[in-house]
């Protein structure tokens, strides 16, 4: 595929459209899902099944005045919400939805996505620091230690997968897992590594994704019962809206990565189901993972900050390191 100007514009528009649509309608899905879990109707007034709720919420937020607190650092205060949304949208460019649907495949796709993902932490720091609010400040300090603690096991686990596949190209990683469910990296009995510890790696990666995206039970950055609203306490209007959408866009990216790295991307679970287009399987896996995110959020209470750090440094990092070494040994043997 030659990279013409038209191609780039179409790709970017589709990426932004997909990200924004997902972010908006995941809010709706989350509210409906939470309502279902809590035995109440949820948003059901605007449009059929409340489907007009997200655009109306967006209009309401945009119509509001953006207040900047006195003494806040204006530049960073305005930059922070943009930083929350921008890396997630950029990451969509390289996500392959099927063999053919990908905006721009790169041979270092994994690296690019993690590079942008670590910028997400920066937006929390900027938001918390520039608001000049004690709650926001405490929240951003937590966000930094959380980001440091959880990116390490996440990256180590990713390296394990990259070692098995021998490539940083997302499409190549998916192609390696083609065949049946036993070729996927989550349970690669027939794959080229035969590593029985991969389910554990999957759980580590999934936990880290929860923590990376600041979702419950790891939503310490916006622990509403102690830090009011955390880093976005001082944000109103679309500033808050961007943080909100950024959170959901990050969930989509995290789930996409989990699907690609562990669940075989667009591959069908059984070979005879291969006649169904790959994009169906990809979206099915993606939304099942997102449903799990929502389910977990409305079931568990929040952890403590020290519980979170202990989990990362004492359990997740040693386990993921061990699996890295184990995988390296297996690759040498087979």
């Amino acid at each position: 595929m030659r990279l013409t100007l038209l191609n780039v514009i179409v790709a970017v528009v589709i990426a932004i459209g997909f990200a924004a649509l997902n972010a908006a309608y995941l809010v709706w899905a989350e509210r409906r899902g939470a309502a279902r879990i809590q035995r109440r109707p949820g948003p059901n007034i605007n449009g059929p099944f409340g489907l007009l709720q997200p655009p109306l919420d967006g209009i309401k937020l945009m119509a509001k005045q953006l207040t900047i607190p006195g003494g806040a650092d204006k530049v960073l205060f305005i930059a922070a919400p943009v930083l929350a949304m921008f890396p997630a949208i950029m990451s969509f460019v390289t996500i392959p939805f099927s063999e053919t649907i990908v905006a721009k495949n790169m041979n270092v796709g994994v690296l690019m996505i993690f590079a942008f993902a670590s910028m997400g932490g920066m937006s929390l720091v900027f938001a918390g620091w520039s608001s000049r609010n004690k709650y926001a400040m405490m929240s951003s300090v937590r966000a930094v230690s959380q980001a440091v603690a959880y990116e390490i096991p996440m990256l180590i686990t990713t390296i394990t997968v990259v070692m098995i596949s021998g490539s940083m190209d997302l499409m190549e990683i998916v192609r390696q897992q083609s065949g049946s469910i036993l070729h996927w990296n989550i349970f690669p009995l027939l794959g080229n590594s035969h590593n029985i510890l991969m389910p554990m790696s999957f759980l580590i990666f999934f936990t880290c994704t929860l923590a990376e995206t600041n979702r419950a039970p790891f939503d310490l950055g916006e622990a509403e019962s102690e830090l009011v609203a955390g880093f976005h306490t001082e944000y109103g209007s679309m500033g808050f809206g961007l943080f909100f959408m950024g959170e959901y866009a990050n969930i989509v990216i995290g789930s996409c990565m989990t699907t690609i790295l562990f669940l075989g991307g667009w591959n069908a679970p059984l070979p005879f189901l291969g006649f169904i287009p790959g994009v169906f399987w990809f979206l099915l896996k993606l939304y099942l993972l997102i449903a799990t995110f929502i389910w977990i959020r409305w079931t568990f209470p929040r952890t403590t900050i020290y519980g979170l750090l202990n989990l990362s440094w004492k359990i997740l990092i040693p386990l993921s390191l061990f699996n890295l070494l184990f995988t390296a040994g297996l690759i040498k043997v087979f």
């Binding site: 809590q38 035995r39 039970p217 102690e226 079931t299 568990f300 209470p301 929040r302 519980g307």
Partner: protein, 372 residues
């Protein structure tokens, strides 16, 4: 544009939690001196919704003051009214029919279950789990419906009268209460499976905020705060009143002294209250609900009277100094949450803010009851 933030020499800062803060469940303000996330010193500031109930008690006649009691603690209102009517009946020598006392006990226990359910939901919400609140409110709704049918109101009841009750219970109430007990037991099992057994929940409460027995005694703590620290004190057992000696129930006591012990005490209390309601419904005698002979004007003879009751929040005491007039000379309300709250200042030193606010949730504070 930016003025530098001045730190004190010891590098601590003041965090003003409240008066409007999600964790304080009302207008309680806590001035915390923080060192990072650790609390160096905390000071609770109260009085934002002080309504002078005690002064109103001196100005109003006895029947006029009846409705004030339920405005103190809006979650477990009937327990407070119970204390008041018991005191005035004791002071003026009014005989209460047995049926009325049984119905009072049933109502108070139902109200206690409703209060504990709300606390349970709010407490788990303090810890970040939102869904149990919705389940708890649904169960509480059944109780409120039952109470509404008999008392006429859902939250601030004015049901008890000197000598008896405003309204007799009907068959609808009795059958609804009988249906409610097994349903609530089933729900309790669900709560234990969903919340009590949850590893995150346990890790956040086990060993957090230990309260020694000495500290509980020093501050006059009661209810689950004292019973979670191994102090076996329940006014219903220790200074029996009303028809409570007729009932067979246990006082749950836990010796771990931590937040989880306080949680366990309250959850066990729901079960014990259900037992009392069950026995009350079985033993409910027939008869009038108001005495035949009752003074037209309530004027207790001069003297000093005191009555303590066990409300959902602890030992509630009400003291009356009468000069023989139509209004009391002095009416003192001893509110249990006031004592329980003051533990917080001392107990939360050196804790992290999220543990401290979880601890505050385990104290079951209702702010209008502190401020009176």
């Amino acid at each position: 544009m930016n003025s530098p933030i001045l730190l004190q020499p010891d590098e601590t800062f003041i965090l003003n939690v409240g008066p409007q803060h999600p964790a304080t469940h009302g207008v309680l303000r806590v001035k915390m001196e923080m060192s990072g996330e650790y609390i160096v010193e905390a000071e609770t500031v109260i009085g934002y919704i002080h309504r002078m109930h005690e002064k109103m008690g001196e100005l109003k006649t006895y029947p006029q003051f009846l409705m004030n009691l339920s405005r103190m603690d809006y979650l477990g209102a009937l327990g407070y009214s119970h204390g008041h009517v018991l005191l005035i009946e004791k002071a003026s020598g009014i005989e209460v029919p047995e049926r009325a006392e049984y119905i009072r006990a049933i109502m108070v226990e139902l109200n206690r279950v409703a209060s504990h359910l709300f606390w349970f939901g709010a407490f788990v919400m303090d810890l970040g789990g939102f869904s149990p609140l919705m389940y708890a409110l649904q169960d509480r709704e059944h109780i409120l419906d039952m109470l509404e049918g008999v008392t006429g109101s859902r939250l601030t009841y004015c049901y008890f009268r000197f000598g008896g009750l405003y309204n007799d219970v009907d068959d609808d109430f009795i059958s609804a209460a009988r249906r409610f007990i097994p349903r609530m037991r089933k729900s309790l099992k669900k709560y234990h499976a969903l919340v009590t057994g949850n590893i995150i929940f346990r890790k956040r409460l086990e060993g957090i905020a230990p309260l020694s027995q000495e500290m509980c005694r020093k501050y006059g703590a009661s209810s689950a705060v004292a019973r979670g620290s191994g102090i076996n004190f329940d006014v219903r057992k220790n200074e029996p009143y009303s028809v409570y000696p007729e009932f067979d129930f246990d006082v749950p006591v836990f010796h771990e002294c931590d937040s989880l012990a306080r949680y366990n005490v309250r959850m066990e209390e729901i079960e014990q209250s259900l037992r009392i309601i069950e026995q009350g419904l079985d033993k409910l005698p027939d008869g009038p609900i108001m005495p035949e002979k009752k003074p037209k004007l309530i004027k207790p003879p001069p003297g000093d009277y005191y009555q303590a009751v066990e409300t959902a929040r602890g030992s509630f005491g009400i003291r009356l100094v009468s000069d023989g007039g139509k209004t009391p000379y002095r009416l003192k309300l001893r509110s249990p949450t006031y004592s329980n709250m003051h533990l917080f200042d001392e107990a939360c030193r050196g804790m992290m803010i999220m543990d401290a606010l979880a601890f505050m949730g385990s104290l079951d504070l209702v702010i209008p009851e502190i401020d009176r």
